[in-house]
């Protein structure tokens, strides 16, 4: 059954504009559409009426790039679990629903336009230590030459599935980035290749996280529930251990 919906969408011309919520109507929305396809329908409608289309971020539209940062009906990526906005289906909504759509809110994620936020603070955290320094030119070592305990390999892999979407920050009442940084720290801390730079990595990444203006975690667990990749709070605990151990050393 196709749906008629009312949308309340945050419109903001540019970074310095004050912005406000604006109401729109869309009709004949198929439950099989993705949420972004529904927004495409709205934008087509706006363009046909010579109005400015709603700016929103997206790229892969298959849950891997982490661009589609929308806060839908009070939740990051909407009411479904384990999905990004592009993977959210319109069958999660009913005919006649009113849907509130806002950008991810955090001082460290300033709004660029409408629903688009600048998440380069995450990139700067990664630059501060989210890597290992290895020479990859011509002398690549066979992966199987370094034995790794299965549990550690699995945990490192799970941590590495973080796509940097920022839903954790958006959902957190404190706008804390600890789930993201916890995942990025854990991904390397669990592996022998990452241990060499472990001390500097955690100190530098946490310092960058704090400098960017993210808040302090109070363990509400909202991030873990809203994370499209199911990144576990255990990663935050591991980062805390790594950080405290590193502070004693450094």
């Amino acid at each position: 059954m196709d749906m008629n919906l009312t949308l309340k969408i945050w419109r903001q011309k540019n970074a310095s504009d004050k912005g406000s919520m604006v109401d729109y109507k869309v009709s004949d929305i198929s439950p099989d559409m993705s949420f972004l396809e529904m927004l495409d329908v709205l934008n087509e409608q706006l363009i046909n009426n010579d109005e400015e289309p709603v700016a929103f971020d997206h790229d892969c539209r298959e849950g891997i790039c982490g661009m589609c940062s929308l806060y839908i009906n009070g939740e990051a990526h909407g009411p479904d679990r384990g999905v990004t906005t592009c993977q959210l289906h319109m069958r999660m909504f009913k005919d006649g629903d009113t849907i509130t759509i806002e950008p991810f809110r955090a001082t460290a994620f300033p709004v660029v336009k409408d629903l688009i936020v600048d998440r380069s603070s995450f990139d700067r955290i990664q630059h501060a230590g989210g890597f290992i320094s290895v020479n990859t030119s011509g002398n690549t070592i066979d992966a199987n030459a370094t034995p790794i305990n299965k549990e550690d390999a699995d945990d490192a892999f799970s941590a590495a599935t973080c796509i940097g979407c920022g839903a954790c920050v958006a959902s957190c009442k404190n706008s804390s980035a600890m789930l993201f940084v916890g995942a990025k720290v854990s991904q390397f801390a669990l592996l022998p290749q990452g241990k060499i730079e472990a001390t500097d990595r955690v100190l530098n990444m946490v310092k960058q996280m704090d400098d960017e203006g993210f808040g302090n975690c109070t363990n509400t667990g909202a991030c873990e529930v809203e994370c499209p990749k199911g990144i576990s709070l255990e990663n935050i605990a591991r980062m805390n251990r790594e950080y405290l151990a590193a502070s004693l050393k450094g």
Binding site: E75, R105, T107, S176, V206, N216, N219, V225, R238, S247
Partner: protein
């Protein structure tokens, strides 16, 4: 180590340490208070010991006061910092979808406990300090000039729980304490980095502690109200 309190994780860690200390103190405080229900004599003896033993008075008591003050000051500091991390709030936010009410309202349950701590100091701590250090009566007796008069602690305790309004305030405060601990207990372990195979069991124990201890305190207050 330098400047650890300037980092988010350092502050979390310090917050958790002060909280773990307070939870240990709460258990100790409860153990002594519950004696008043079973044996006024034992309660009196232990109270006199706690009230006059130098290690408790001059070392543990200042540490405790520092712990309490540090905990709530840091609580307010974190709250202010966290509010700055999101200057524009959501038009629609469904917090209940992903987190508990307790976890989102630690500052309010904390503020309620702080208000209670003020009343509690007014009720017991200030009179105690006044008797011991201003009046200079370290005897612990009802009548300091009569060794036969017995210790005053149990009598003072009973006297406090005569007014219904005070009992109601104590009960309400303990409900907030339970709400605070229902999130806080687990949270403190996560903050110090302990999240492992024991966490599940710990979470079960935390429910018992977070509800049991405040309920026990409520029982003591109501018991004395009904039996004075």
């Amino acid at each position: 180590m330098s400047g650890i309190l300037n980092s988010s994780i350092g502050r979390k860690f310090a917050m958790a340490l002060s909280a773990l200390f307070l939870m240990f103190f709460l258990l100790q405080h409860f153990s002594i208070n519950i004696l008043s229900v079973f044996s006024p004599e034992t309660f009196n003896d232990v109270s006199h010991f706690m009230g006059t033993f130098p290690l408790v008075q001059y070392v543990l008591q200042p540490v405790l006061i520092f712990g309490v003050v540090f905990h709530f000051v840091m609580g307010f500091v974190l709250e202010i910092k966290n509010n700055k991390a999101r200057r524009i709030s959501y038009a629609k936010n469904n917090g209940g979808a992903n987190s508990s009410w307790m976890s989102r309202n630690m500052i309010w349950s904390g503020a309620a406990i702080l208000a209670f701590v003020c009343l509690h100091f007014y009720d017991f701590w200030f009179p105690e300090i006044n008797t011991k250090f201003i009046v200079g009566d370290m005897s612990g007796l009802i009548d300091p000039n009569n060794a036969e008069s017995g210790f005053r602690y149990y009598e003072e305790l009973q006297h406090k729980f005569v007014d219904l309004w005070r009992v109601v305030l104590y009960v309400v405060a303990f409900v907030f304490l339970a709400l605070h601990l229902l999130h806080g207990f687990d949270s403190a372990f996560q903050s110090v980095g302990a999240n492992n195979k024991y966490t599940k069991g710990l979470k079960r124990f935390s429910k018992i502690y977070a509800i049991g201890i405040p309920l026990g305190f409520i029982f003591i207050a109501v018991f004395h109200f009904l039996n004075h």
